[in-house]
Symmetry: C2
Subunit: 345 residues, 2 copies
């Protein structure tokens, strides 16, 4: 009833009702300068009366910006979709966008299909900026993102190249702490189950593992790669046991894989943590359920999303913010408790 026509009221109608020009109304609404107090008030009243909401599309066209940012994710990545990661990232991003009036668009990129769609989407002016996550080594998404020329923030580093803006978790540091924990427990034959070699996160965690073992002057070559899934972790554990039946600890690059490794260890009659201590990475809910519960490295997933979005907002505003490295934290549970006497072998 408030709007004369059935459609949404337009700026013109507001201006007319307020008795000012459209320009003045526009200024008042975007509270820019050069509007008298009286007119500002009149416009505000008209806005309220009509229930006026600016037409974002028209704004976008006139301002030459879109009013939306996109979160692009490679969806071959079990890492994000088998886990609760995704929801948390989104929650963080949303929180950062909360008082921004920017919309969040989602772009899932199948590595093979849907390239056209991605390309169209990334082509300006379909978004004002882009957050990109979970890239693989030679991900076509990365190229498309780079070609788009849009302000871009990486969530987690890509394998190749050093982007100007990114937010990452301190994977290397976290993995180092995990391995140090095992060393401090007196373990000497320490293996690792690493992630896929074509992801930066896997490489960084493996580096951290190597860092710690090198300092302790231990061998750090007892490594098997897997794909971040439970099944993959179980299989990798099999291979490790075959290579080195006498291993007394294993640092696993994800909780999912650690859960699989745990199963394999138990199947092979190893007691955890007495015979083999295990630490995971991620701190997923799953870590509470394994038998025994999982010592792991906690990473701030929600913050990752939040900081990505904040960084992007800054970049879009023309600032030159610094990249961010978020801290991790050791969470000690049963699979590698603080002090446990090494079982006599």
């Amino acid at each position: 009833m408030t709007s004369p026509t059935g459609r949404q009221p337009t700026l013109d109608e507001v201006a007319k009702l307020a008795g000012v020009s459209r320009s003045a109304a526009s200024r008042a609404i975007n509270n820019a300068a050069h509007v008298s107090a009286a007119n500002r008030l009149a416009v505000e009243r008209a806005v309220r009366e009509l229930g006026y909401v600016p037409n974002v599309t028209a704004q976008a066209l006139a301002r030459q910006k879109v009013g939306a940012v996109v979160l692009a994710v490679s969806d071959h990545n079990k890492e994000l979709f088998g886990d609760p990661f995704f929801g948390q990232i989104i929650a963080g991003v949303t929180a950062a966008l909360e008082d921004t009036d920017l919309d969040l668009k989602l772009l899932l990129c199948h590595p093979e299909r849907g390239h056209d769609r991605v390309r169209r989407m990334l082509r300006p002016p379909r978004a004002d900026g882009i957050m990109v996550m979970a890239l693989r080594g030679d991900d076509p998404l990365q190229r498309m993102v780079e070609k788009s020329g849009l302000p871009t923030v990486y969530g987690g580093l890509p394998l190749h190249g050093q982007p100007e803006w990114f937010v990452d978790v301190d994977n290397r540091g976290g993995a180092r702490v995990a391995a140090e924990h095992l060393v401090s427990l007196g373990r000497r034959r320490i293996a690792s189950i690493a992630g896929p070699a074509d992801t930066h996160v896997a490489v960084a965690r493996l580096d951290g593992f190597a860092d710690a073992l090198s300092v302790a002057q231990l061998d750090h070559t007892l490594v098997e790669h897997a794909d971040f899934t439970r099944e993959g972790g179980a299989a990798a554990m099999e291979r490790l046991l075959e290579r080195e039946p006498g291993l007394d600890a294993v640092s696993v690059a994800s909780d999912n894989m650690a859960a699989g490794a745990l199963q394999t260890l138990l199947q092979h009659g190893r007691r955890v943590p007495e015979d083999v201590a295990v630490v995971g990475f991620d701190d997923l809910p799953i870590g509470h359920l394994t038998q025994p519960s999982l010592t792991t490295i906690q990473q701030p997933i929600r913050s990752l999303g939040y900081e990505m979005a904040r960084l992007l907002l800054a970049v879009v505003d023309g600032e030159k913010p610094s990249p961010l490295l978020l801290p991790t934290r050791l969470v000690v549970r049963e699979s590698a408790p603080a002090r446990v006497s090494l079982a006599a072998s």
Copy 2:
């Protein structure tokens, strides 16, 4: 280099290069009628040469549509964010949108904060249609969605009201099958851990439970509610054991809660499935990890997303599609195996 100016080429430039009017170019590009074969070809070449991509914003303004749909989710809902649900829904939706040139916007609605943001977003013309999920009983999001007047598809029914278009999982049927399974195992004192009473999904699953027990002429009032979390499930199981120490089966409305219930049962010295058989709901990965593994009801999450989007597309196109109820399936694992002799009590 292809574009004369640094900016994206416009339709005018395409038309000029092709030697036709802008109208003709537009028609050719949207392959509408009334374009000669020659002109169509010329336009296509010009498009290719210039690397022209239509400006969606301008299209949106002229066409009076946005070119995007929104997925709105209430984020108080652990159900979606503690689980891998979310990623799968998104994957399904994306698949359905794949060859549509519609963008997917995401709207997370904190039940208390951010109402303005939601309202702005839902106000046309910020999206052409809306999918809404995970509503609670008196969810403000539902009111806002209804007031928006946008074509709406519900993913999962709301507690109140019967929306014209929805896609839901056959929760009632699934829960009935779960309970029937327990009955068929010879269990007679069957309890249930239900979800929050202010969600339709919880109510439906509880109804299904009651359906089955009524047919079997068993008491179906041994019910405790919880919040779909593991901790909640564990606590509810405590209460059930207190009320009825002699229960021999429990049907749990989610795998997460079932995992918690399992822990409680073991703590109380109950053997599963010998003393108490347990079935969950959802078929999350977690069900493989519990000790024993979890018999559960599988629901097609990805399909839910896919069908929601398909339905929405139909509605947006002015069709009147039918709502959908997706089937569930019993997955038998250790916590309630096909045949197990009831332990002598």
